[in-house]
Symmetry: C2
Subunit: 478 residues, 2 copies
Amino acid sequence: MADMEELDALEAAEDSGGPDFESLHEQRIEEMSSLLEARRMKQLQEMLEEVDEFEAAEFLTELPPHQMAMVFRMLSKERGAEVFAELDAPEQEYIINSITDSELGNILDELYLDDTVDMMEELPANVVKRVMRIATPDTRVLINQYLKYPENSAGSIMTAEYIDLKKYMSVKESFARIRRIGADRETIYTCFVTSKDRKLEGIVTVKDLILADEDAVIEDIMDDNVIFCTTTDDQEDVSGMFSDYDLLAIPVVDRESRLVGIVTVDDVMDVMEQEATEDMEIMAAITPSDRPYIKTGVLEIWKNRIPWLLLLMVSATFTGMILASFEDALAVQAVLTIFIPMLMDTGGNSGSQASVTVIRSLSLGDVEFGDIAQVVWKEIRVAVLCGGTLAAATFCKIMLVDRLLMGNPGVTLLVAAVVCLTMLLTVICAKIVGCILPMLADRLKLDPAVMASPFITTIVDAISLLIYFTIAKALLHI
Amino acid sequence: MADMEELDALEAAEDSGGPDFESLHEQRIEEMSSLLEARRMKQLQEMLEEVDEFEAAEFLTELPPHQMAMVFRMLSKERGAEVFAELDAPEQEYIINSITDSELGNILDELYLDDTVDMMEELPANVVKRVMRIATPDTRVLINQYLKYPENSAGSIMTAEYIDLKKYMSVKESFARIRRIGADRETIYTCFVTSKDRKLEGIVTVKDLILADEDAVIEDIMDDNVIFCTTTDDQEDVSGMFSDYDLLAIPVVDRESRLVGIVTVDDVMDVMEQEATEDMEIMAAITPSDRPYIKTGVLEIWKNRIPWLLLLMVSATFTGMILASFEDALAVQAVLTIFIPMLMDTGGNSGSQASVTVIRSLSLGDVEFGDIAQVVWKEIRVAVLCGGTLAAATFCKIMLVDRLLMGNPGVTLLVAAVVCLTMLLTVICAKIVGCILPMLADRLKLDPAVMASPFITTIVDAISLLIYFTIAKALLHI
C-alpha cells in the first residue's frame, strides 16, 4: 500500500524507474522497527492498524518471540485476528501460548472459519485442545465438521461463509440481505440460490444484480447451469476448474447435492502455489512438506530427503553390478571407461526432459493416459533427432579432442563408432522410458511426479551401460 | 455446468460417490458431437450458446478443421468472441483464415483487449497484418501500445477495461456509472478512483459501495492505501502480490503514476501456471515454450531440448577426462569401478534436492541472497546427517552383499572405508554446491532454475570422482 503522497514524492525523485512498490514495503517495515526501538508505542500502534495485515504480520515475524507477543497484544480485536490469520504456524502457536483465554476467544470470534481450520491442522495437539475448549459451541461443531474432510479435498479448503439467496427474492431484497449479512462473508460477489432443503439451484453474481432491474426476481436472472464441485474432489482438480472457467468462487456440494460451502479464488491461488511446490519437491526426490524451507528444522529436512536417497542408492548398485559383470571387457579396453560418465549423464538428461514434460502436461490436463501412443510416437521422433545430433557431435569431439589433441592411442575409429551408436540408442530408450513411466504411474493412481529425473536417471544408467557393453562386445570382439 | 435436473438424476443414481462434474462435462461434449453427426444443427446451435464457452471451445478443438470453421460460424456474434478467446493459437489462426473480414471485425469488436493482445502475440506475421487492417483505429492504437510492453511484464498482461470513479461522486452516482459501463468491463468489483489527470487516488470495492449509504461520497469510503504495480514490473512479482494480499484486481500505473490498466485475478492464475511450468522445464534443461506439449511439433521440441543436451554433454566430458587421468589407479584396483555409478548418482541426487528446495524458496520469496549463510549452514548440517546415514548404509551393504554374498575378493575393509568416506564428503560437497549455485544465479539476475539437477549433477559427478580417487590413492597407496 503506497500513500498517494509517497507516490508523489517518489515521482519527484530523479530515478526514471518509476515508483517502486517493493521498496515502499520495506520502508514501512523499517519505520515500524524504528518506532518500536524508540518505544513510541502510540505511533507504532496507529501504524499497525493502518498498514496491510500482511505487512503487520511480516513485521511481527521478524521480532524476537517475547517482543512479538507484546506487540501483538497492542492490536485491536479485529486487527489482531486479521494479522493472526497471516502468521505462520510457529508464530501462531507462540502467540496462542502467550495470551489469555479471553484474548484467544476474541481472535477465534473474528477469524474466518477456513483460517481457523487451517490453523488447527498445523498446531500441536495440546494447543488444539485449548483452542477447542475456548471456541464457542457453534464454531466447535463447524471446525469438527471441516476437519473430517480428507486432506487436499475441496471440503478441507472450503469456507461456510457465503451469501445464500432464494429463487423468489427480488433484486432489491437480495441487496438488503447482502447488506445485512455481507460484512463478515469472505466473498459477496457470487451469491448462491438454494432451495428449502439447502439444495443448490443456481448462482447469481453481484454484477448480474447490479445490472438487473431492482424488481426483477432472482429466478429469472440466476444461472442454473452451475459449475460445482463435491466435498471429496481433489483440490488440484478444483483449482483447474477455476483457471478453466475464470471463477471467483465455486460451490461445494455434498453427496446429496446440498450446498455445504464455497471455495474462493484466493484459497485456490494458495493451492496452486502449494501443488507446484509439491510437484517440484517430488520431482527432486524429496517428501513434500507444507512448511517454508527456512523455518523447517534440520532433522525434518533430513527425514524428508533420506528415504529417497537410500532407495535411489540401492537402485544405483544395480548399475554397479552391471559394471562389475563387464570388468573383464573393461580390463581389455580400459579406454571405454572414459566415456561412461558422458553416456550415463546424457541418457539421464534426455530421459528427464521427456519425463518432466509429460509430468507437467498430465498435471495441467493437457495429456491423459489415452494419448500414450501419440506421446510415445512423438518422443521417438524427437529422440531420433536428438540422438542423431548428439552422436554426430560426439563423433567430431572424439576425433578432434581425444584423438588429435590428446593423442589417446586407445581411441580408434571403431571405439568412436561404439560410443556414437550407444549414444543414439541410449537417447531413444531414455526418451521412451521417460515418457511412459509417468503415464503408467498416473494410470496406477500414483503421483506421476515420482517418475522424474532421479528415478529415470537410475533406470537409464543401467540401460545405457547394457547397451554400451553389448555393442562394444559385438564390434570390438572382446 | 450441471443442470439441476441432471444433478437430481445423478443423485438418484445408486453410486454413493455423489454427483461427478467431470462426467457431466464429457457427457455434454459427447451430446454435441452426436447432434453434429445427426446434422441436427438447430439443436447444436442452441446447445453451443448455452454451455460454458470453455466447453464449446473444447468441442470445437476436437473437430476436424473444416467442420470446426463451419460450426464456429453458426455462433452468435457475442458467443463467437467468447469461444474464440478460449481457443489455442493454431485453432484461432485456422478460424481467422476461414472467415470473412466483417466476421473477423465482429469478433475483434467483442473480444476483451487483453485477449486480443494475447492472440496477436502468438499469430504469424501475415495473420497479424490482416487483423490489424480490420481492427478499428482505436483498437489498433491500444493493441500497439500494449504490444510495446516487455514480455512477461505487468503491462503485457493488463487490460484497459476497468471502472474508474471520481472522488466527488456519490455511491448512487457510482452505481449508475457501473450500470452504464459495467456490462463490458472484465471486472466491476474493484473500482479505481482517479484524478483529472488520470492519477490513481484510491480504490473502492463494490462491497464497500453496497455496504455504504447511497448518499456517501467516494472520497470518504475509498481506500487511499492502494496496492499497485507498474507497467514494467515482472508478472511473477505481480502474481506474488495477489497471493500475499488476496486481491481480485491490481491497478497498473506508468512512471508518472497515471493509471493505465488493471491486472485481474484470472489472468494472474494463468501466469502462475505458466511460471511454474517454465520453472519445471528450465529445471529439466529444456528451453520453455508457451505451447502445450501435445500441440508442439517434433522439430520445435528438438530445438528446445538439444542445446542443453549438447552443453551438458560437453561438460560431462570433463568427468570422462578425470576418469582417464586415473586410468592407472583403476587398472590396479579394478574393483573401484563398481562403485562409481552409485557415488555419482547419490551425489547428484543429494545436490538436486538442495538446489530444487532453494530454487523454489527463491521463487516464492521465502529466501533471498542475504540468507545465504543461514542456508549454507543448514545444508551442511543436513548433509552431515544424510551423508552419515548413507555411508553407514553403504558400509553394511558392501560388507553383506559384495563381500559375503557375492564373495568379491577385491572388496576389502579398506576399499569399503574409501567408498564410505567418499560418500560422506561427496554428499556434503553436493549439498553445498546445490544450495550456493542457485543463490549466486539469482544474485547475478539469472534464472536460478537453471541451476537444477542437470547442471548440479554434472558438476557433482566431477567432484565425486576427484574425491574418490584422492582418497583411494591415499588409503590404498596406488
